[in-house]
Amino acid sequence: MSANAGTFTPAPGRAPMRVVLRRQIRMELVLTARRGEAVVLAMGVPLLVLLGAGLTRATNLPTDDRLGYVVPGVLALTVMSTAFTGQAITTGYERGYGVLKRLGASPLTRPGLLFAKTVAIGCLVGLQMIALAAVGVIAGWRPELSQLPSALGVTVLATAAYSGLALLIASVLRPETTTAAATLIYVLMLAAGGIMFAAPDLGVAGHFLLPLAAHAEALRATLTDGASVPGSIWLSLTCWAAVALTAAARRFRWE
């Protein structure tokens, strides 16, 4: 190395990995907050459903405790909208714009980028659930907290499953198609997932076909009734998470 150091004299090196990850997570969160449609999708729709179906008789529910039915369903819906719909759309476009490729080839590295995305999604899901639960409580919902750890457990499984599915479709489809598919699935699940209407009664099979309905039912069981999560729901969400993450790991594309 020459003695007279110039402006560009090489001095390469990676900042401490926790600094790198923290800065990337912050960027992910800032950019999410900046995209209006993402915020509306993640908070606006669940809020409307919560207040509309929870406080009025706009829809038929299989119970008189409307908030006890609707609030846990809305919490489950939020997990899906953020971890699946939002993430699929964002990841599809980031792939299209070459962002994944570029960041993967920076000191952040590919595993670092995936880790930062996961933490950012976790933060968003957590914040949204706290905010929506607070609105529910203000509206008159009285949650049962004895089974809270189980509620958190199924939520982590659901988040993992949705994230895997999001990364999978963002890797397989073009960004525009990803957006359309993710939004369509969101709307279909909102209708059939037992959020503001009763889900079609498919018994245990329903737990495996409709992860949103399974998650919503688990949250109703724990947070409204203080009961334990049915074994078939644990099994269903575990399967969804395992299959989705495995498929995503195999098919994920950086560019």
């Binding site: 020459s2 110039g6 004299t9 090489p10 900042a15 900046r34 714009y97 070459g98 490729k101 080839a105």
Partner: protein, 304 residues
């Protein structure tokens, strides 16, 4: 002696059945600039992708700073600066945000504001990437490649889409990189860019190396290839051509052009002929072969 910055050996890249790179070898010495020159589709970017670790070669090997770009990816990346041909930035992030993000990834980053100033991007610091023009996006990508103070930078068509002023600024910046000891591998289809910047030029055509050497070596071999002489009009210049391995014409009255591989003897013969004809020679002008002539001769003439 440290290993070369880049050492590529017989690299082959295939996309399905199509061979994009068909067995290319090259070396980038430390602290030097190598330009990969070629038309679109010559295989320049595919070769760069191998060096950047985005894909493994289908055959052959690449060593970058002594490391394997795929297997040692995470160890190598902090030492490299990569400028993609386009994109690579969040459309909704501002120029300042994204540059500071990349700076925060590095142990000893350059000052982000200094870089924005050097590249004429200071006034766009709060502009989102998608609102920047193509040339501004290119300059920001260059800044992202440099902010971590890398040992080696890969620049894929660095001045594509830039106006004349920005191109000049970028060239000066690349020259200061070399002056400060950074190694550079760049691709370009611009002959003046290769001629101005490169210590070493590798001309690629159809996935293979068509020629290699310093710009001077590539152009010097041919020497003078055109002699323009102004003299009395109407001389029988066909007679001159018959004695030389060259063509001679009277382009316009009194303006003669003698074209061919002209060595010293041939030039002496040309001027001797004019003297023997009793002509009054009032101007002599020579033209050397340029990189463009070499390039066009090598690459089937499809350039520009």
């Amino acid at each position: 002696m440290r290993e070369a910055a880049v050492e590529v050996q017989d690299v082959v890249v295939r996309y399905g059945g199509v061979v994009a790179v068909g067995g290319v070898s090259l070396t980038v010495d430390r602290g030097s600039i190598l330009a990969l020159l070629g038309n679109n589709g010559a295989g320049k970017t595919s070769l760069l992708q191998v060096c950047e670790g985005f894909r493994a070669p289908d055959a052959g090997s690449a060593r970058v700073l002594g490391l394997d770009p795929v297997a040692d990816h995470d160890e190598l990346m902090p030492r490299l600066g990569i400028m993609l041909q386009s994109g690579g930035v969040y459309p909704w992030a501002t120029a300042g945000e994204i540059l500071r993000l990349f700076a925060s990834f590095a142990a000893n980053p350059l000052d982000a504001d200094m870089l924005l100033d050097r590249l004429g991007l200071r006034k766009f610091a709060k502009t989102t990437f998608r609102r920047l023009s193509g040339g501004e996006q290119q300059r920001l990508s260059l800044a992202l490649a440099l902010v971590g103070r890398p040992e080696l930078v890969f620049l894929d068509e660095p001045t594509a889409g830039m106006d004349v002023g920005a191109r000049q600024t970028t060239w000066e910046l690349v020259e200061s990189l070399r002056a400060d000891g950074v190694s550079v591998l760049l691709t370009t289809h611009l002959l003046d860019e290769a001629e101005r910047l490169a210590d070493h030029v590798v001309i690629m055509d159809g996935g293979a190396v068509a020629a290699t050497g310093t710009p001077a070596e590539l152009t010097a071999a041919a020497g003078i290839d055109l002699l323009r002489v102004r003299a009395d009009a109407g001389l029988a210049v066909g007679e001159l051509a018959a004695r030389l391995p060259a063509k001679a014409i009277e382009r316009s009255p009194g303006e003669y052009e003698i074209a061919g591989a002209l060595d010293t003897h041939a030039i002496a013969a040309v001027l001797g002929w004019f003297a023997a004809e009793g002509a009054q020679v009032t101007a002599v002008d020579t033209r050397r072969r340029t990189l463009e002539d070499v390039y066009l001769a090598l690459t089937a003439g499809a350039a520009r």
